[in-house]
Symmetry: C2
DNA sequence: ATGAAAGCGCTAACAG
DNA sequence: CTGTTAGCGCTTTCAT
């Protein structure tokens, strides 16, 4: 036995260790190394297998994923295309998707289309070039050209309703929005404004419909609407505009957390008290909504369920076609609507060390 | 000419279009297709090239990245290992890294180690298997075992100071912390607490040193310290603990935005007025810090500079070795320290449509 | 200016 | 149980 523990000879040529290096050192054929690495398709004598594993360790062998993908024609990898990777909602969604995929032994490659159709085209090409086994889309353009790529299984993961012939996943947005707006109304609010985006996920946006439904069911007139980007800045501008447009406003429903958080800043700046003067609620329920001031009452999307569902749908895409998976939102009551807010959801006071 | 516009025959076998399909259709050899795709290494007659391009379009040809990587031995891809991909700081950092890499024609593969050394090991193996040309680490474990993989260029991207023989990038954290704490003191604060993490980036953490320096320079005694996780929950717990530990506290410096945001919620809940009763500042300067209430005064890290520097360092890693790139932080004054806060940084009021 | 062909590292028949 | 080998799609040297 050589004494070189870590197995890599410094200053040596850069070529990486291959399967045949391992085979040579273990005194077997390269096929056997393959059988050991993949635990099949043929059995290997335990004694031999051990020799091979030792050789792999010694040489620091890592199988070449490109070669494997080339040979197998599949990569155990999924592609994810997002329209805005800085939005905490998609950040959390991505995290859950990666987790769900990992549980099924799959990796995820992420691309941010930056809301641009042409950038997105490039990303999809790249993902296809990398031979992803499936594609997940959280992007406005998806429904259009994704139709051309039907040779690769595709799921639209931020989709408000079924689309014929497509696999889709989404929250029950209309019902969720209606529930949270109804809750606002139950606090005695009668003039509820809406902050919503323009090129959202559906037309009219189901969150807008939910807001209308709640108002109508309570016999209230529709409040003013501000259409702004789905961003903190958008919400900030919207709140300012709405406040000056309609002084009788006593509540606000925002179509995502980001807009609500922007609105809160505008409100706080002007000394409008939330919830006393104006109640606020939003749709999404990201972590950030729990730590705003005041903490936001939200229709919370169940991301781990959505994510697991999306991955499952992709897995079974051979057999399933044209299915829509809908997950209910959860009404989370916090301070911004006027409910009593009992502190954060998962305290960790035990972890404090004060000196 | 066939009339089938999109070029893909539905119901046909799944095998994807290869270079030789294109070659056949264009009536050239596969080598020529390669020359056209790569614009070299041999010139191609313009007429021939056009025929090839037409064939590619017609067939919807996308080069197979695995085959190319296998042949070339490189992937034009970088690996990024993060300890917590949900932290907005790393989210923004990642975004900038992807942008900087894209500008140089490189992709980035991201892995989240979830603060676990063993998970991280798996991620690195996966990245190595995928033949990344370089590795970026924003993770506590990096400095240890990354030493074994010196055959692949590596940059530590969240590193407070030089490490012999390693490429490192980081903000001037000690100076930045000192500047922002000094600023707190300039508002007349004399009892400044510290909220900091445990297994941070350096020991003692440079942010802690900066805080001490500022206090010492002003002839003030060190305030109380709370050691908590680098999370919103951690900051929440820390503020509660510190408040009850030391009622004379009139300022707080948090080692990251997340902790400060958690602290703000605890303070707001208790009716402690910020900044009147207690000033707050933090380190990082993510977007979230601009939209908290009150907005946070921060030592802001210059992520686009750090990211561009990190990518450059990796590019030149052949020639450069053991370099540390340090970028200054920027003091951003907002309401939480007692400064007048003039509204958000990039308003977009022009984008509002009110109905 | 273009074609033929070797070979990157791996998997999976097939043959012992 | 293990060895031999063809070939995945691509790049590139060597011919032509």
């Amino acid at each position: 036995m050589a004494t070189s523990g870590s197995g890599h000879i410094p200053g040596e040529t850069r070529r990486s260790v291959t399967r045949s290096d391992v085979a040579k050192l273990a005194g077997v054929s390269s096929a056997v190394v393959s059988y050991v690495v993949n635990d099949g398709p043929r059995p290997v004598a335990e004694k031999t297998a051990k020799r091979v594993r030792d050789a792999m360790d010694k040489l620091g062998y890592v199988p070449n994923a490109s070669a494997r993908a080339l040979r197998r024609g599949k990569t155990e990898t999924l592609g994810l295309v997002i329209g805005d990777s800085l939005n905490p909602f998609f950040v959390q969604y991505t995290f859950e998707l990666v987790t769900a995929a990992a549980a099924r032994g799959k990796q995820i490659l992420i691309g941010d289309s930056r809301q641009s159709a042409s950038v997105e085209k490039g990303i999809v090409d790249e993902l296809v070039a990398r031979q992803v086994d499936g594609l997940l889309f959280a992007s406005p353009f998806a429904r259009h050209y994704a139709a051309e790529l039907l040779d690769i299984p595709t799921v639209l993961i931020d989709c408000p309703g079924p689309i014929p012939g497509r696999l889709t996943v989404g929250s029950a947005a209309e019902a969720g929005a209606e529930e949270v707006v109804t809750h606002l109304i139950s606090h005695g609010r009668t003039r509820v404004g809406l902050v919503i985006g323009d090129h959202g996920f559906g037309n009219p946006d189901p969150r807008e419909r939910g807001w209308r439904n709640a108002l109508a069911a309570a016999g209230l007139a529709a409040g003013p609407i501000a259409r702004v980007p789905f961003s903190r800045e958008g919400g900030y501008a919207a709140a300012k505009a709405l406040l000056c447009e309609d002084p009788s406003l006593d509540a606000l429903f925002a179509s995502n957390d980001l807009q609500a958080i922007g609105a809160l800043r505008a409100l706080n700046e002007r000394g409008v008290r939330v919830p006393e003067d104006l109640a606020v609620a939003s749709f999404d329920g990201t972590k950030e909504s729990e730590f705003s001031w005041p903490p936001l009452t939200v229709a919370q999307q169940q991301l781990s369920l959505l994510a697991a569902g999306a991955i499952d749908l992709l897995e079974d895409s051979e057999t399933t076609m044209g299915k829509h998976l809908e997950i209910d939102t959860i009404l989370v009551r916090r301070r911004s609507c006027g409910c009593d807010d009992g502190g954060i959801d998962h305290p960790s006071a035990d972890l404090v060390a004060v000196i």
